[in-house]
Symmetry: C2
Subunit: 183 residues, 2 copies
């Protein structure tokens, strides 16, 4: 409970999610009262899941919504299968469930993990749900006793990850990408 | 064959490995005439292998030789098992085989790979064998159609990786490490 309290500061405002006692797939479930276009509808719940049996077209739609380049569905399917961990974030509204966030990690199951493809649907950004999603994947990786959690951050999200405890270039360590024609 | 020719410039000097026609486990075998403490002995051959059934005490000895912190053998065993790819480098001298280099990669088997634990025994450094080892692991990852090859480089080896085609912080992308107590 302490985790969620510290994350959301007990806010009950219309745009910030608040803790409810319903059980989620992993971690606690959040109740979220959305403002904006869905203001008329009832409160929704947010849950997290490690289940990697995700509708890949729904995932593609989520990635489209943030402007990512499309990737072949068969490749995405394979990448999910061979990821060490997949954590997805869902909005529940009555019997309706919608994929609103996603993240995954590769790993040697022991020392190192690298987090990829962190995405939150634009309708749900600015509500600390990205942080909640990241805290969930970090928690799961720590539960698996992974000691070294890494990622590669685009410049505009470096501070987002810094706030979560990620340090850029610690001790001068440089993230590097291979380009066949780069010299 | 062109790969090795370009790598070693056809040198037949005593400290640079030269190409021979013997088949290796993967890639060509190199013949190496060492100078220094083994100057009296006959020429040796260098081979690369993807076989992950490595004597873990021999691997520990190799890592000790470059001053790495010891890691529990059972954890190293698990990490090797769950790495996507392991490439080791061996010196053959008659019937004697010695582990002289090592590298491995985690991956989602599809889009991303991250290379870890690149090590060359000090006796074999300065002979372009580190580059040969890296070219081997890159070649294997490319053969598996991995599009994004990444690593985290200590400051003193950034230029080594740069020469191999790795770019630090491309488009401002930052390598980040999670530290539980960092804020």
């Amino acid at each position: 409970m302490g985790f969620w309290k510290s994350l959301f500061n007990g806010s009950n405002g219309s745009s910030a999610p608040t803790l409810v006692s319903v059980n989620g797939s992993i971690g606690p479930t959040l109740a979220i009262a959305k403002n904006g276009r869905d203001a008329k509808s009832a409160s929704s719940k947010i849950t997290f899941s490690k289940d990697r049996d995700i509708d890949l077209y729904e995932l593609e739609e989520l990635c489209d919504a943030v402007g990512w380049s499309r990737r072949p569905i068969r490749k995405v399917k394979k990448a999910l299968k061979y990821s060490f961990l997949v954590v997805s974030m869902w909005e529940h509204r009555g019997s309706y469930r919608r994929l609103i966030g996603f993240s995954r990690a590769t790993s040697d199951h022991t020392f190192n993990a690298t987090i990829w493809d962190v995405v939150v649907h634009p309708d749900f950004q600015g509500q600390r749900l990205g942080k909640a999603l990241m805290k969930q994947i970090i928690k799961e990786l720590r539960r698996e006793d992974i000691s070294n959690i890494t990622l590669f951050a685009d410049p505009h999200v470096v501070n987002f990850y810094r706030d979560l405890g990620f340090m850029p270039d610690p001790e001068g360590i440089k993230g590097m990408f291979w380009y066949p024609n780069f010299r």
